[in-house]
């Protein structure tokens, strides 16, 4: 969806402001936000792409004026409420009022959490069909404006580029975010020139690499 998360090429935000000697967390609440976000996701009630979609469906004004951990916790509350795991009243009162619902995966204790962080969760999947494109192929990204989740940024739609890497087969965010299954597809590294993306005023020699799932791409005639 064309939400506030799709920031590439927007203007007016001012310079990047790195913070000297930035701490890992700005206060205790950021630690808790990280921890409950990861621990809740581990219950298996939503996947990575559903989590991302919950963030990007925050109203644009709210998204752009929230810190990133605020975005995480607002999305987390939305996911928990949508699945009946907590109620708005519980959140408002800060205490449990109704029994918990069963979750797909059990609550992780410290040892299980450590194991999960160390293992990660790879998103590559078995190759069941040949790749449509090969390194060196010239491709064009689709012009599309789906209402749902996609990982093809607006600035890279309808652009011509060259396949420079065939990454393998990965779970497809556009279906996975909506409970339609992983429907794995080939994913490619595609190189675009700055001029193709931004026009003649682009930085000379700029190259932009975008990882694109196969359904985002069409062969050029």
């Amino acid at each position: 969806m064309n939400g506030a998360q799709d920031l590439g090429g927007m203007m007016g935000f001012g310079p990047v402001m790195p913070e000297p000697n930035e701490p890992i967390f700005h206060g205790e609440w950021e630690k808790r936000a990280l921890a409950i976000t990861l621990a809740s996701a581990a219950l298996g009630e939503w996947n990575l792409d559903m989590g991302r979609h919950a963030r990007e469906t925050l109203p644009p004004g709210e998204y752009l004026t929230s810190s990133y951990y605020e975005i995480w916790t607002k999305a987390l509350a939305k996911l928990l409420i949508a699945r009946g795991m907590i109620t708005p009243q519980e959140l408002a009162e800060g205490r449990a009022l109704v029994p918990p619902v069963a979750t797909k995966k059990p609550r992780a204790d410290a040892a299980a959490a450590a194991k999960a962080l160390a293992a990660g969760s790879p998103y590559d999947r078995p190759k069941t069909a040949p790749a449509r494109f090969a390194k060196g192929d010239v491709v064009r990204t689709k012009v599309m404006h789906p209402l749902g989740h996609t990982r093809l940024p607006r600035y890279a739609r309808g652009k011509t580029g060259v396949v420079v890497a065939v990454h393998g087969v990965f779970a497809y965010p556009d279906t996975n975010a909506h409970g339609l299954g992983e429907q794995p597809h080939w994913c490619y590294g595609v190189s675009f020139t700055g001029r193709e993306v931004w026009g003649p005023d682009a930085e000379p020699d700029l190259e932009i690499m975008v990882d694109c799932w196969e359904p985002y791409l069409e062969p050029t005639p």
């Binding site: 808790r32 959490a113 160390a118 293992a119 020699d205």
Partner: protein, 187 residues
């Protein structure tokens, strides 16, 4: 925030000990020092560098780094002709296993909007300027690959130990918003 945590704990969805473990992991165990060791080893050992560029995930696993948000790691090399810059315009994708959690600026609208449009300007925001002849390649982390920049080794570090070299590797140099540099001696 506290209300949300309290409800989750009271309902038994999350274990407070697991929450503490997660925080401790990213406060004390996983951070940019991991990546600095990887880069220092690549500078010192050409065979390791070749393995790192060929398969980042496997090569960093040799140093026991791996796991969440590093499942599919690709390392990209800076040269005098080419400078790499990593961004996630759509969210905050970042190679946690080697850099830890991303800094606020990496997740911010200014960086995510400008990195693909005006990368030289972004690098300038960090007080760094690149020769006009150096081409810039921006990596937008739109899928599940995570990118780590192999910065250029600073001049004057010939014969240095890996440990000493690792001190030259800043977090920003592994994102592309900075360069590796010999640390100033504390006075």
């Amino acid at each position: 925030m506290r209300a949300l945590e309290t409800v989750l704990v009271e309902k038994g969805y999350v274990d407070p000990a697991a929450l503490d473990l997660i925080v401790e992991t990213y406060e004390t165990k996983i951070g940019p020092r991991n990546g600095a060791r990887v880069i220092a080893k690549a500078w010192s050992d050409p065979a390791y560098k070749a393995r790192l560029l060929a398969d980042g995930t496997a090569a960093v696993a040799e140093l026991s780094y791996g796991g969440r948000q590093g499942e599919h790691l690709k390392v990209v090399e800076n040269t005098p002709e080419l400078h790499n810059l990593v961004v996630c315009t759509l969210c905050s994708c970042y190679p946690w296993t080697v850099l830890g959690l991303p800094p606020v600026w990496y997740k911010s609208a200014p960086y995510r909007s400008k990195a693909v449009l005006d990368p030289r300007g972004v690098i300038g925001d960090f007080g760094v300027s690149l020769p006009a002849s150096t081409k810039i390649r921006v990596w937008d982390s739109t899928a599940e690959l995570r990118y780590l920049v192999l910065p250029m080794r600073p001049e004057g570090t010939e014969g240095w130990s890996e440990e000493r070299l690792a001190d030259c590797v800043t977090r920003d140099s592994m994102i592309g918003t900075g360069l590796a540099r010999i640390p100033e001696v504390a006075s």
